[in-house]
């Protein structure tokens, strides 16, 4: 009995320490963010509203402290947040027409062929790359994606938003200020909402029905990110854009993602891919715009590559534990037999 009491004390103290240095410490170190939301309109309206609330609170606090410099900074922040809220809400209001329009696929094909293939390949429809990845990255900062799968991996709403205004659609407008512009032009200046709807409908019509996890990763992520553990021997899984160009374009070399499933974990990766700004405010990484299915495929692929022995681990684990339970039972029986004539 006494030993069980001692064991209880040891276990409780160990668990308190564990709780303190693991779940509790990590909850204190990492920001709490809203859950993943694939309805980008709803998400954008919510996050920009939250940003205004946060800035208002910061201003109130600065005013309480009566710190002139802080008040001035907080005021600027609040104005920026309010301006952005107005911009993003107007942007989504304007997207409504194109999203609701009844599209014409044939017209979309003509428009895509005329507008997009100058920079983008659509290999499945006989439009090869005009420039290789390195040349494209030299010209635009980042290699241009093939449009064959866009209609599958991105949602209709996202495609509309992105074509209309790439910087706002992918939440990187903070990067393109002071005369810098997104390498892809905003088509809201050249096309009507109906035409944008037609283009999106065409992209959706040519998209493959099924894609492997790897294919989604290649189309969605590999222009910027390498995944070297996916092919260590042949080294074919490096980023398409040369390091120098992409570093210049993004401000920092996008990391190789080989171990991200372990260093970030599924949950955090999901939130980050869904909206990079949430976990890393001001990051140059765009909201890629993946729909739920494609995002799950990307994360699954990161796990297949970065944690390839997971299945083996989960299969072997229980067997090990069963063996050890049997060992412990025999050890206790032996102990009992040895101590019988001692007490």
């Amino acid at each position: 009995m006494r030993e069980l009491k001692i064991l209880a004390v040891v276990v409780v103290l160990t668990l308190i320490t564990y709780w303190g240095v693991e779940p509790f410490a990590h909850s204190q170190m990492h920001p709490q963010v809203d859950p993943v939301n694939y309805n980008f309109e709803e998400a954008d309206r919510a996050t920009s509203k939250e940003a205004v609330e946060k800035a208002t609170k910061a201003l109130a606090e600065a005013e309480k402290k009566a710190d002139e410099k802080a008040i001035k900074g907080a005021k600027t922040d609040l104005e920026a947040a309010q301006t952005f809220e107005k911009t993003i809400n107007e942007f989504w209001d304007a997207n409504k027409e194109a999203i609701a329009a009844t599209p014409n696929v044939a017209n979309g094909e003509a428009l895509v062929t005329a507008n997009c293939t100058a920079c983008h390949s659509i290999e499945s429809k006989g439009f090869p790359k005009i420039m290789d990845d390195a040349t494209a990255a030299g010209a635009y900062g980042v290699s241009t994606p093939d449009l064959g799968s866009s209609g599958k991996i991105y949602s209709k709403e996202y495609l509309v938003a992105f074509i209309k205004n790439p910087a706002l659609g992918s939440k990187v407008s903070h990067k393109f200020t002071d005369g810098r512009v997104h390498p892809m032009p905003a088509y809201e200046l050249m096309n009507t909402p109906q035409e944008i709807a037609d283009m999106v409908a065409y992209l959706q019509s040519i998209a493959p029905k099924e894609m492997t996890n790897k294919e989604v990763f290649v189309d969605a992520c590999q222009r910027c990110h390498g995944l070297k553990y996916a092919d260590m021997q042949k080294r074919t899984m490096g980023a398409f854009s040369p390091a120098d160009d992409i570093t210049k374009y993004m401000g920092k070399l996008p990391p190789d993602l080989s171990q991200y499933i372990i260093s970030r974990g599924e949950d955090s990766l999901g939130k980050f891919i869904n909206d990079p700004q949430k976990l890393l405010e001001g990051t140059a990484m765009p909201r890629v715009g993946l729909n739920q299915e494609s995002q799950a495929q990307v994360i699954k692929y990161l796990e297949e590559v970065g944690d390839s022995k997971k299945a083996q681990r989960e299969e072997l684990g229980p067997k090990f534990l069963i063996y050890l339970v049997i060992f412990a039972i025999f050890a206790f029986l032996w102990k009992a037999s040895q101590w019988r004539d001692i007490h």
Partner: protein
Amino acid sequence: MAQFEKANSVGEWLDQRLNIKTFNKVMMTEYWIPKDINFLWAMGVLLATTFGILIISGLFLMMYYKPDIKLAFDSVNYTIMQEVAFGWLFRHIHGVAASVVFLIIYIHMLTGIYYGSYKQGREMIWISGMLLFVTFSAAGFSGYMLPWGQMSYWAAMVITNLFGGVPVIGDALVVWIRGDFNVADATLTRFFMLHVFLLPIVIMGLIGLHFYTLRIPHVNNQSSEDIDFDAEAEKYLSGNKKESKVIPFWPIFISKDLAVLGVFLIFYFYLVFFHYSFAMDPVNFDPADPMVTPAHIYPEWYFLWSYEVLRGFFFDIAGIKAFDIGLIAFAFANGIFFVLPWLDRDSKILPAHKRPLFFIWFWLLVVDLIVLTVYGKLPPTGTNAWVGFFAAVAFILLFVLLPVITKLDQKRRG
């Protein structure tokens, strides 16, 4: 030369040459252990087992690990974790054991403190144990650096920087330890040598010493009773097993150890398979990047308490720089346990529950160590910094007060 006759068995043949029967008696069947012990006394065998596990798994890992800053990260995370058959198992076994070994060491240490096992006659057991603790810490730290992950790199940066606080030779000392002006390839290769050769050898020697220190004063017991081992052993050998206060190491004592080991291994392998990540900081799965500092730098959990004592002093006091006060406190925290046998002024050996003030002191120490550990990981801002400061001060005060407290206990007992 001794007389050799034809042996009738391998055992006999060996006995003639190596005297294994006597050896067995001295080391096992007539090595006497008090009967009045609880499972906390099995921690020694648990530690020896865990150290064995570390050595064996470490040997396998060494076959594939590359001590080169360009190759180290991938050799661990790709070659060992993904290419080598069951490499992941050996890494998890090694990584989790490295963490769990400290949990057991702390339980072992606190058991010793609670039952007064460091007192009169057993000082050398305590000191050799503390030397083991320090060497294990060095081995843990040098091994932590090897995968060349982001946190291990910055931990190496911070820890080696501490030596810069040594008066006069500080800066030169840092360069000497690193082998470079920065934590770099030279640092990695020497830490590799320390981790796989020098420190394990020293640990093995110290384990031998630690075992040897037990032979003459013998192991303490639950009631801290002073046992006449020779008389009790005679009782046992004459068949009076129930009355004898001692039992032989083999097979009686070890049978209980094995039962405890069984439970421990279930816990340990549960961690290895299903919760290995607790021992592996996620930040360490980003390759080391000298250009980017992690948002929070913290050591592994088992160093957090002394790390918090170090950074608890975050403001200058009486013209002495915060960094210097922290360093002195840090040196105090790591050295003070060595002199514990002399800080305890009570002339009798008794378990803590029979020494009222010491009992309170002991639990305050445990609580303070837990507070230091938890706050050692939290960002040192606002209230956290102040909790850290007071916990660090409390830690030092506890040891300053110990001689007084133990003397008072003795007086009250009369």
